[in-house]
Symmetry: C2
Subunit: 284 residues, 2 copies
């Protein structure tokens, strides 16, 4: 397919994802394309494109890495929604809810496979990227498994809660930056990217929990407010908010230590989240 010159990098990511899932070539590919078409902030694609541009990488590699990370994220959403029996995603029915459990398993598998295929455009660096992606996918799977096993347990420690939140979402938030660093031969900085992703993930999860205190209690899902209340905090909402702000701050600091501004967008996202949470704290 000829790609018009005027396409933006983000549009190229969209085209690449549709092509890799095989839209128009059978049910699973069509459902995958439909799921991708339902929107989403494309946070991971944007992080990859911004880091790649900051590090001076060729656009083809940047698009490949961005599509890979976004496909991985969407694979995890499709399978997580099924595991968690979350019926809605992006204001529509989740894939399992609309097309059935078996279709959701197939679609998630296809998205995961497509993510790896996207890395083929990274030439000689492909093997190193493959290993990194697998390591991080393994971490996400361990995080999701731990989360599932802690359902309905109110005796979870704060440390364990943070470990699970960091493990579930952190790896795919830092991976876009990690892969750009590897491509730019800046692999020494991977740890800072990992820390930034994990802190962001924990801050984000706590913010999310603050919105879902009632619902999570009903569904016996892990929630930081319940964790804090169970250890005797008298103002668990306030403490959770302060903790989240601290995590966003640490995420920003770690992201800003990355070379050549590779973590600038991640730092900006952390600041936006932090500002929104500050506004909530201020009296009207």
């Amino acid at each position: 397919m000829q790609i018009p010159q005027s396409e933006s990098p983000l549009q190229r990511v969209e085209s690449r994802m549709r092509q890799l899932v095989g839209a128009g070539q059978g049910q699973a590919g069509d459902i995958a394309a439909e799921h991708l078409g339902a929107g989403g902030g494309r946070v991971r694609a944007k992080l990859a494109l911004a880091a790649s541009q900051a590090l001076g990488l060729p656009q083809d590699a940047a698009v490949a890495v961005a599509a890979a990370c976004e496909l991985l994220h969407n694979a995890s959403l499709v399978h997580d929604d099924l595991q968690d029996r979350d019926a809605l995603r992006r204001g529509r029915m989740a894939v399992w809810q609309e097309h059935g459990d078996a279709a959701a398993i197939c679609v998630g598998d296809l998205l995961l496979s497509a993510a790896y295929a996207s890395l083929a455009a990274c030439g000689y660096a492909t093997p190193a990227l493959l290993l990194r992606v697998h390591e991080r996918v393994g971490a996400v799977i361990r995080g999701q498994s731990s989360d599932l096993s802690l359902r309905g347990r109110s005796d979870t420690s704060l440390a364990r809660y943070e470990e699970v939140a960091a493990g579930k979402s952190g790896p795919l938030l830092s991976l876009p930056v990690e892969l750009a660093l590897l491509l730019a031969d800046e692999g020494d900085h991977l740890t800072s990217a990992v820390v930034a992703g994990e802190r962001f993930a924990v801050g984000y999860q706590m913010t999310d929990d603050l919105d879902d205190v009632q619902r999570d209690a009903l569904n016996e899902e892990l929630n930081v407010v319940a964790v804090l209340a169970a250890r005797g905090e008298r103002a668990p909402l306030q403490v959770a908010r302060e903790l989240a702000l601290g995590h966003f701050r640490e995420a920003r600091i770690a992201a800003l230590t990355l070379p050549r501004g590779a973590g600038q967008l991640l730092a900006d996202y952390a600041r936006q989240r932090s500002d929104a949470l500050q506004l909530l704290r201020e009296p009207a």
Copy 2:
């Protein structure tokens, strides 16, 4: 980990698979290792090793490709058993039956991811292998989706039955040989490998169906005997047997056209299956 010199290539494949799924690093990795440890014929690993040896490839690449194909196969087993609600696998409880649906989804994802990671050892050829693997994984997913959508429908044509059987199992049977051909710069012969895998898969599925006529009828699963009976065949068992023999013969012919004996083991497997079926046909 130091690998002892005395380890056979097949033992190296086992070690590599265990290492890539992260045995000992969490629940999903442990279950994946347990599933792999339950046995299985390692047909796809053996096909990869034999084709690689025939084509003079380095052992490291052969082991990487063999582990990738075997991991893909096992990923598909774990997810298929869940989709089909098959309770037993290799004489043990299937993963979903023993550990639950959510764990089975995680374990299948981990095995799929590990398969791609295994290809990192293939150096400059890695990008081409990635694309090929994704194409074939897509074909398997389309085959599995079609199979699921045809459940309980007795009006399936023989052509459609064969298409589904070829699509579901053919790609992962030929993939070991296909990847070895790509590594040996013999990509012109991929089509013969694909045909051999598909014919073998259809013959194998028909043989399997002959053993499961009653059970499949109860479970409303697609079975060639029912397909033949529905179109008015008076001796559907005999016809199915003849068709299966024809498919094994075609598989053998296609495999034997591959360069430098790369398809010899696949041809041998087809002959073994064919001989076993012939014996069944002969009067005692």
